[in-house]
């Protein structure tokens, strides 16, 4: 077995024989800085905090290399929450509790499961695009988004499994192919645009739908799916609120631009344009939702009443997130969507 003495002798002999080991000293000198650079010069895929090496091909060419474009405080803590609260569609869902359901109920469950599968496909696909174009120096943001992709993959998987588990199968896809419940997510080219649309508008609305899930579940498996997914979704919303809060504080010159993203999201949230908000009105998915909440195709009206209350709740939580992020001026200055304002007042 090598001893400390023999190892020391080995390295001393190696040095005498011409090996330059001075770079090892850099390890002692080098301590990863706590601060994050405002501008990242990292084009090479060098992991945050590691020692740079010269003459490396600039294969990264990252689009996002300015801190204020992507940053949010406290994402490390949120990431810890992400990784300790993971679950598995294979072992945490009591699939054996699913029993044959009336045809109308099964069809409605499958329609919603199809919708959620589609939504989660977009919600996992789009963040991935941004991760790969962001400087590695912004590791906290990358980790949070990677963890989100992991969550969304599980959702994609679990709703697909539910659609296929009880004889119904995947149903018709929604009209929009690029949106997540109010946000034109797939069209976003800029990180804040993406985060406003996906995390604030889209995920915020999906969170309410997942919370509603246990009330329209017909077995323990469906309850478990929705309960677990709701927790995950709330973490994704937190990424967006933390980012917008940062932007409000450190990039106020972009506030009006962000308001424009919110204008668009609110319009879709209120009208259901694109068909992507089941809590909106007269949608394929809102019909399924009302049927499940009411308890069958002959009780859709009762389901619609619950939906109306849920819409108000969706809006109240959205308005309070605007306040948390520092963008609630739109509620008071007439910019907010009037239909949502009406719902908010009704919920207050």
């Amino acid at each position: 077995m090598a001893t400390v003495e023999s190892r020391t002798a080995y390295w001393e002999q190696a040095k005498e024989q011409g090996f330059d080991l001075s770079w090892l000293e850099k390890l002692r000198e080098h301590v990863a800085g706590e601060g994050v650079e405002e501008q990242s010069a990292n084009d090479t895929g060098r992991v945050q905090g590691s020692i740079p090496r010269g003459d490396v091909a600039r294969f990264g060419a990252y689009t996002f290399r300015t801190k204020s474009e992507v940053w949010a405080h406290n994402l490390t803590k949120l990431y810890e929450e992400f990784i300790t609260r993971q679950w598995s569609s294979a072992t945490d869902i009591p699939w054996e509790t699913i029993q044959p359901l009336p045809d109308d109920i099964e069809a409605a469950q499958c329609q919603l499961a199809t919708f959620f599968t589609q939504v989660e496909f977009i919600a996992s696909d789009v963040p991935g695009r941004f991760i790969s174009t962001m400087s590695p120096d912004y590791q906290e943001v990358r980790l949070a988004l990677l963890a989100q992709v992991m969550d969304e993959s599980r959702h994609l998987d679990v709703f697909r499994k539910r659609a296929l588990a009880n004889g119904g199968g995947l149903m018709r896809m929604i009209d929009s192919v690029s949106d997540v419940v109010g946000g034109s997510t797939d069209n976003a080219r800029e990180f804040t645009e993406f985060s406003s649309r996906l995390h604030i508008t889209g995920e915020g609305n999906v969170l309410t739908l997942f919370r509603l899930g246990e009330m329209m579940a017909y077995n323990e498996a469906e309850k478990a799916i929705y309960r677990r997914c709701a927790q995950d979704e709330a973490r994704h919303v937190a990424i967006g609120v933390l980012h917008l809060r940062y932007m409000n504080e450190f990039a106020p010159e972009r506030r009006d631009e962000i308001h424009c993203y919110l204008d668009e999201g609110e319009s879709r949230q209120a009208t259901g344009a694109g068909g992507e908000n089941p809590a909106g009105q007269s949608q394929l998915t809102s019909g399924a939702l009302a049927m499940l909440l009411g308890g069958g195709k002959d009780k859709v009206d009762e389901g619609q009443k619950i939906l109306m209350a849920i819409r108000q709740r969706q809006t109240k939580e959205y308005f309070q997130r605007l306040k948390s992020a520092g963008f609630d001026d739109r509620i008071h200055n007439g910019r907010v969507n009037p239909a949502l304002l009406e719902q908010y007042k009704a919920a207050a």
């Binding site: 246990e214 709740r313 309070q320 997130r321």
Partner: protein
């Protein structure tokens, strides 16, 4: 939920919530649900309790005042009767039935049961982020002998 504890505890009281604290801190299933960093306020009628969670444990239970709710991430508020209904239902069903889960109560009781005292939804959202741990915390009360004031 496993075996029940025989000493009757009064609800609401610090002792009752501390008994829940003990139960979840020795419960592997609670740990398996994931880390939970939250300060939760509980308002039962006029009485206020503050419950701290750190990492995988419930670390502190105290009785407080309405002012303490300002520092909580979120607080749950119901009338004395609604709380008693929740505790009774949890006991009878060995865990809350569908109409008595924290999530359903929050959706169905007018105005909800959970909020942040300052209107900060980021902190209020912690209720959603760790909801199943909170549900497990309250479901553990099925193992307590509870008497009401």
């Amino acid at each position: 939920m496993s075996e029940r504890r025989s000493t009757a505890l009064k609800f609401p009281s610090v002792e009752w919530f501390r008994a829940l604290q003990e139960l979840v801190n020795e419960d592997e299933e609670f740990r398996r649900l994931g880390s939970i960093d939250a300060v939760m306020g509980i308002k039962v009628g006029e009485r206020v309790f503050v419950i701290n969670f750190e990492a995988f444990e419930c670390t502190e239970v105290t009785e407080g005042t309405e002012y303490d709710l300002i520092d909580a991430d979120f607080y749950l508020e119901m009338t004395v009767e609604q709380w008693q209904d929740l505790v009774t239902n949890t006991r009878e069903n060995n865990g809350a039935d569908l109409s008595h889960t924290l999530n359903t109560l929050d959706l169905m009781i007018e105005g909800g049961i959970s909020d942040n005292a300052t209107g900060d939804q980021l902190r209020a959202d912690v209720f959603f982020r760790v909801n199943q741990s909170l549900q497990h915390f309250f479901d553990s009360s099925a193992r307590l002998e509870t008497v009401f004031e």
